[in-house]
Symmetry: C2
């Protein structure tokens, strides 16, 4: 076993046993090295991996914010993995879109079937209000659009699916933007998207699960067809 893996196993064990908790801190790199009988560079490689996995956040200096703080941030690593594997061209964009379709339509159905607090829907509504601004550039619009879709996924109450959705949107963001010029008429498309978003929200609020799911699926499929992706 490589030395840096010692650190990974140690940390995973400490997490599982409750010796390390969110907000807690890893021992310093020098201390960890001494405890495990390895060198600081090996410890550093492990901390890098943990950072890439979204388990710790490192910062220099002193005080409670400094050092390697335990966090729970599954979104950034998922995004990074997706981005890198999209770059290798061994992860077809079609599969990503299909996954979006599945996760988002499920989320909409699930959200429609839940009792939602008023403020849960409020976030999504405010995003839609901001998207009504006709002065938005395609990039600004798309960022809000992504936030809206991610918010919908969050309404289903499944943190894993919400995290995957967030990562998917981040990973394909630039691909989608690059396809905007393919649209015959961006402004007309935006008008259509706005209306579809409102319909989706109405269906969710009304508890129409099947309709909400179908609207979301049609919404996504329609955009990708129009953008020829």
């Amino acid at each position: 076993m490589k030395n840096y893996e010692l650190v990974l196993h140690r940390v995973e064990g400490d997490l599982a046993a409750g010796r390390l908790r969110i907000g807690g801190r890893l021992p310093g790199e020098r201390a960890l090295a001494e405890q495990l009988g390895i060198s600081r560079p090996s410890v550093r490689e492990a901390v890098r991996v943990l950072e890439a996995m979204g388990v710790v956040r490192t910062a220099t200096g002193s005080g409670p914010e400094a050092g390697a703080v335990i966090v729970a941030e599954p979104v950034s690593p998922l995004t990074a993995v997706l981005r890198l594997h999209l770059a290798t061209n061994h992860l077809p964009m079609g599969d990503v879109v299909q996954t979006r379709l599945l996760l988002e339509s499920w989320s909409a159905r699930e959200a429609a079937g839940r009792e939602l607090a008023a403020n849960e829907l409020k976030v999504a509504e405010e995003l839609l209000d901001r998207m009504d601004n006709t002065g938005l550039s395609p990039e600004e619009f798309h960022l809000l659009d992504a936030e809206f879709h991610v918010a919908l996924a969050g309404l289903a109450g499944n943190v894993l699916i919400a995290a995957v959705m967030t990562s998917l949107r981040s990973a394909i963001h630039e691909y989608v933007l690059a396809a905007v010029p393919n649209l015959p008429d961006w402004e007309a498309t935006a008008v259509g998207l706005r209306a579809e978003h409102r319909e989706i929200l109405v269906a969710i609020r009304g508890g129409e699960a099947e309709r909400a799911g179908e609207l979301v699926a049609a919404h996504i499929r329609g955009f990708y067809r129009a953008a020829q992706l």
Copy 2:
């Protein structure tokens, strides 16, 4: 920007531009350090991250297998991320099970709707044959079970969903095993699971998409209920 991030961006750019391909190799750590004007330890930290992300595989020695070879292995990083975040207890097991339910029932429906080559189903059938061996321990049985479910997910033809499924199964493997003692009668449960597997495969082969999806969902829900997870 931290120095090791220079390497990550460099590699991602080279992948996207086609300068790096699967099977290709990264420049040596010393060469990379010199090209980017940074030190070897910084390069090593980046290579570690890439390795953790499943983008490269490193090996010592010389020859075509040595060095940092570009691979496309999204499963191991996804598994690692899930494992670590399950360990933090900020990723509820219920959400993982729900995700399994969604992805697997979708895969079954999708697989039933596709034209499957004979050898695609053969792998799954052979797994079922091996599971008929009544001398299997719960652990051996469960490993074959996981392989069978992953094979089903693969039949849908979506590499992303198949990868996520594989990771989910790996990440929850030990949790499921730990729950086996909760079962009132392991042997009886195994008999039931075997029969359900056969039914699922029949439905897929027969193109009964809806039935295949429902059977899978019932199969998973039934097990988790019996194991009180």
